[in-house]
Amino acid sequence: MSASRSTSLAVSINATLADLMEQRPEMLLLGEDVGRLGGVFRVTRGLRDRFGADRVRDSLLAESTIVGQAVGMAMSGLVPVCEIQFDGFTYPAVNQLVTQASRIGDRWNGQVRPSLVVRIPTGGGIRGVEHHSESNEALFARVPGISVACPSTGEDADQILRYAVTIGSPVVVYEPIRLYWRRNTPARDPQPARSATAARIVRRGADLTIVTYGAVTNEVLEAAGALATEVDAEVVDLRWVAPLDLETILESVARTGRLLIVHEGSRDVGIGAEIAASVAERGFDLLRGPVRRLAPERRPYPPADFEKDYLIGVEQITAEILGMTK
């Protein structure tokens, strides 16, 4: 199987943030340890030296403070790009995101359009301790007024961040921790997405559509590659889970007639449920078989010794593909 060795996700995001900071004087970075340390994942390494402590701000260790003050900064015309240290520490900021950031535009009758980005390192497979391996993107996907992106490559993260700082409403960007430093990833179809908000077809195929996003996109590509002689699978990397690019999904399902959805966030009331329901409503006649979902069951993320049982692996995906196409 071919693989590409490219710039890592962390290095790529660092370069994008640096470039945006250069271009946009109203932008600033705000988060725990993002300045002196460069963030726990070093994604903001070197940026404080380059842009100064006013624009690369080490925040207090309080997530509501981070997002709450960012809302105020956005009201003053700045574009704050916040970092939450780990996905599982997002919850203290949920009130400020859900009841405030997402609603400011409406409350101000459009007079303020806050461009505000919250970057959240996400996902497991890194032997994290409790709360350090979660995937809570479906939580914000349910909130009107918040856009939710889940890039799985540096190239996608670059396009998404450049778009996110311009749209005048909050964007939560989930960055897969286990891809931050990974350089060997399965090759992807080079054709770019139709737009900054569109899904991207990362593998062309005719027998089955697999819709996925985030770190597990790589496992899906590995599984599809391993079965290439038996099944010709098409893989759609959503890149955004809110709003969803249903058009790309439906067009793909129209070609293949089969749909499998794979994600790392837990299955119940998850992103896959929304996709399955939407395809059933709008594309039922396109389907040759039932839509299937492959995602962890509804239980807390386990201690690291058990995470392999929790996460969706290549073998499970392979088995599911074979089951659906045999």
Partner: protein
């Protein structure tokens, strides 16, 4: 004296499974106590030390400075006391 042990490159946490070997601090033939610095490596996040897991004498290095180490690969051999 027992057979030399294969000592492997540790995991560096949070999905970091590679590091650049900067230098060997403990040369072949050196005796090390558990906890002594054996080598200095640089991960994508930081510079860190690899410390001896056992007390004994280092009998071989399995990599040279400047190479990229992968977690789980053999790093050096040690004849434990």
């Amino acid at each position: 004296m027992s057979e030399p042990l294969d000592v492997r490159v540790p995991s560096f946490g949070h999905g970091l499974d590679e590091a650049l070997l900067i230098e060997w601090v403990a040369a072949v033939g050196n005796r090390v106590e558990r906890g002594d610095v054996v080598a200095v490596v640089e991960t994508n996040k930081t510079t860190t030390e690899i410390v001896a897991e056992h007390t004994g004498r280092i009998t071989a290095h399995a990599a040279t400075a400047g190479t990229v180490l992968s977690s789980g690969a053999v790093l050096y051999q040690l004849a434990a006391d």
